[in-house]
Symmetry: C2
C-alpha cells in the first residue's frame, strides 16, 4: 500500500500539475477568444451562435483535440446516459438476441448499457437500489428478474421515481404499474402443449426453470392449462425442474426418461434446456421424434440447426429488446410518463413446427 520512494510522491502531486492533461472548455475558449458559454453552445448546438464564432470555436476544438469531459457533463446534467439491464443469464442465446436489440436501440439513442447478470439468482431490492443509485443509471430494464423482489423494491422506494421497464416476464400484480414488454407466455406454452396433444401424445413431461422462476412460471401454467383442457385424454402433469441451462436440463431429462411409463414427449421451458434434453435422449439410444418428441421455447439460432431441427416457440427477441429501450427512454425523457399506468405490451409469438415432434409411437 504505502509506496516508498520519491516515485510515489511524484504521482500524488496536486491535480493541477499533471502534465498536459486533456484540454478543457476553458482552454478552447481562450484559444478561440470567446467565452466558455459560447463553446458550450457550440458543442451542444444550443442557444444561438454566429457563424464566425462557431468557426473559431470549431478551429480551436480541432487544434486542441478537445473532447468534452463527460464526467463533468453528466454531473452537471444529472444524467449518465446509461441504462442498467438486469437479466438472469447473459449466456442464454435468447437474451443474447434480446440484448442485440437493446444495444442497437440504445446506441442509436446515445445510451450506454450496463449489464447485471444475476446468474439465475434472485436479485434483492437492495442490490438493485445500489446498482441504480451508485451507478446512477438513468433507468433500469428488468428482463425476467423482476418478481422476486417486487414487493421489496416498491416499498423501499421512498426515493424519487425511477424509470423501470420489465421485459419477458410474468407481471406480478404489484408491478402492473410498470411498463412491460413480453409475449403471452401462457398462451404460447399452451399452444405448444396442444400441438403435442394433437399429435396423440398423452404422457407429456415439462422441464421447468429453477424453483419458482417467474420467467417460466407462466409457461408451466400454459402447459398445465392445455393438459387440463384435454381432460381425461392425457395423464397427470409430469414436471421436473431444469435450471434453464443445457447441463441442468440434460440431468433433468435423464430422470424423466427413467420414469415408468416413460413420457412420449418433453416440453422444455426454453431452447437451452431442449438442447440438453436432446443430448440426454440420444444418450439413452432413443430417437427424436420416433421415440420421443421434443419441444423448446425461444427459437434461438440453434433450434433450426439441431438434429433434428427443434419445434419451438419463436419470440421476437430483438424486438423485445428494442421496445424495452424505447419505453425506458420515454420514461427518462418525459418524466411525466412515470405517472402513466401503461398497458403491458404484448408482442406476437409463433409456434414453429419442425422435425423434433411427431406422432406418438405405436401402442404407447
Amino acid at each position: 500500500m504505502a509506496l516508498k520512494g520519491p516515485n510515489g510522491e511524484k504521482t500524488r502531486k496536486r491535480t493541477r500539475s499533471r502534465a498536459s492533461s486533456a484540454a478543457s472548455i476553458r482552454d478552447v475558449a481562450r484559444v478561440a477568444g470567446v467565452s466558455t458559454a459560447s463553446v458550450s453552445r457550440c458543442i451542444n448546438n444550443s442557444g444561438t451562435l454566429s457563424d464566425g464564432t462557431r468557426e473559431r470555436v470549431l478551429a480551436a476544438i480541432d487544434e486542441l483535440n478537445y473532447t468534452p469531459n463527460s464526467l463533468a457533463r453528466d454531473f452537471r446534467r444529472g444524467r449518465t446516459f446509461m441504462l442498467l439491464v438486469v437479466l438472469p443469464s447473459v449466456g442464454d442465446p435468447f437474451f443474447t438476441d434480446v440484448m442485440r436489440g437493446v444495444h442497437a436501440e440504445a446506441g442509436r439513442r446515445g445510451y450506454g448499457i450496463v449489464i447485471s447478470d444475476t446468474q439465475h439468482n434472485s436479485l434483492s431490492a437492495n442490490e438493485v437500489e445500489t446498482l441504480l443509485i451508485s451507478r446512477q443509471a438513468d433507468g433500469i430494464i428488468l428482463f425476467g428478474t423482476a418478481s422476486p423482489f417486487a414487493t421489496e423494491i416498491l416499498s423501499s422506494r421512498r426515493r424519487r421515481a425511477i424509470p423501470i421497464v420489465i421485459g419477458c416476464e410474468a407481471i406480478a400484480p404489484e408491478l402492473k404499474r410498470y411498463p412491460s414488454v413480453q409475449i403471452d407466455n401462457v398462451l404460447a406454452a399452451r399452444q405448444a402443449t396442444e400441438h403435442l396433444i394433437d399429435l396423440g401424445h398423452r404422457r407429456i413431461a415439462f422441464v421447468a426453470g429453477v424453483g419458482g422462476s417467474m420467467l417460466t412460471a407462466d409457461r408451466e401454467r400454459g402447459y398445465r392449462a392445455a393438459l387440463e383442457a384435454a381432460g381425461k385424454r392425457v395423464s397427470a402433469a409430469t414436471v421436473v425442474a431444469g435450471d434453464l441451462s443445457v447441463a441442468g436440463a440434460a440431468a433433468a431429462a435423464k430422470r424423466l426418461l427413467a420414469v415408468d411409463p416413460r413420457p412420449t414427449a418433453i416440453f422444455c421451458a426454453n431452447d437451452e434446456m431442449a438442447i440438453g434434453a436432446a443430448s440426454a435422449i440420444a444418450e439413452q439410444g432413443l430417437r427424436i421424434p420416433e421415440d420421443m418428441s421434443l419441444v423448446g421455447f425461444d427459437d434461438t439460432r440453434y433450434a433450426a440447426v439441431m438434429q433434428p431441427p427443434l419445434t419451438t416457440i419463436r419470440q421476437p427477441a430483438e424486438r423485445i429488446g428494442m421496445r424495452s429501450v424505447q419505453r425506458i427512454c420515454k420514461l427518462i425523457e418525459e418524466p411525466s410518463a412515470l405517472r402513466d399506468n401503461p398497458e403491458p405490451e404484448i408482442v406476437a409469438h409463433e409456434l414453429i413446427v419442425r422435425a423434433s415432434t411427431g406422432p406418438v409411437p405405436n401402442g404407447r
Copy 2:
C-alpha cells in the same frame, strides 16, 4: 415535440425547485451537526474521525437515507469505475463465457462493464476514442477486435495513455506494448489439424472467420503449418470463409461438400461454425464421423452435447476474462504500469477429442 399547455412549462422549472431531491452531503452534515468534510471522511474511511462524530454522521445518513451521488464523485475523482469491453459478438457463447469471467472479476472490484459489440465489423480508432473519451471509461479491453485499427489508434493517441488490454487475439507487432491475455492460437490450431492428419485424413478443409479476421488468422496459420509439415501426405489447403456464425458456416460447409474430391474432414475456426457445419453435413445425408470428421474451436457449452459430441479446442474463457480485468485494473490503479512493456500472457488450451472425429473413410 412542442408541449402545449401549462404542463410542459411546469416540468421545466429550474432545477432548484425539484421536489425533495435526493439528500446531499450538505444535508447530512447539517443534520449531524458536522462539516461536509467530516461526512466525506466518514463515507470514505479517509483521514481521521472520532467515534462520536462517526456515529452522528452514520445516524444522519441513515435518517436521510443518503446515498452519495456518484456522478459528483466520479467527476471529482476523475474516475468512472467503468470498463469498456469491445468484442466482435456478444452472442457467441465463447465470449459469453469470457464475459462471465469479466463480470465476476469486475463486480468483485467494484467496476461496471460497458459492452461494445462490433458485430464482427471492424471498429475504427475513432469509434474507440469516442467510446472511451465520451464515456470516460477507466480502461478498455479489446477482445478479438484490436488489430484492424491498431495503427490508427496508436498514431491518434496524442492524448494521455489509456489503459488498454487485448484479449483472445493475435497481437500485431505495433500492439506488443499492450498487455494481452490469450491462448497460443497457432499451436492449438496446429494440434487440432495434426489430430486429423493422425487419423489418416488427407483432404482437410478449414472454415475461417470473416475475411482477414484477426481473431482467427492465427488459427488458419496453425492449420496451414500443420498441413505443410505433413508435406506430400496431405493435399493443398482448402479454406473457405464462414463469418463466425452458425448460419454463415452452414452455407460455407455446403460449398465445401460440393467440392470434388470432397474433403474428409472439416476444421472450423470456432464452435459456432462447427454447429452450422454439422447441420449442413447432416442435411446432405452424411454422417459424422463416418463420412466426415468435424473439429471446432472454443469448447463452448454446446460442444459436448452435440450429436455426436464435438472434438474441439478448449480455451479457458472465464479465466481469460478474469485475467483481462485484473490486468486492466492494475493499469488503472497503478498508472506507472502503463510504462511497462509486458509479456503477452499465454494461457493453456487443450485439445478435447470427442466423437466427431474418426478415421478417414475407407478408400478415400
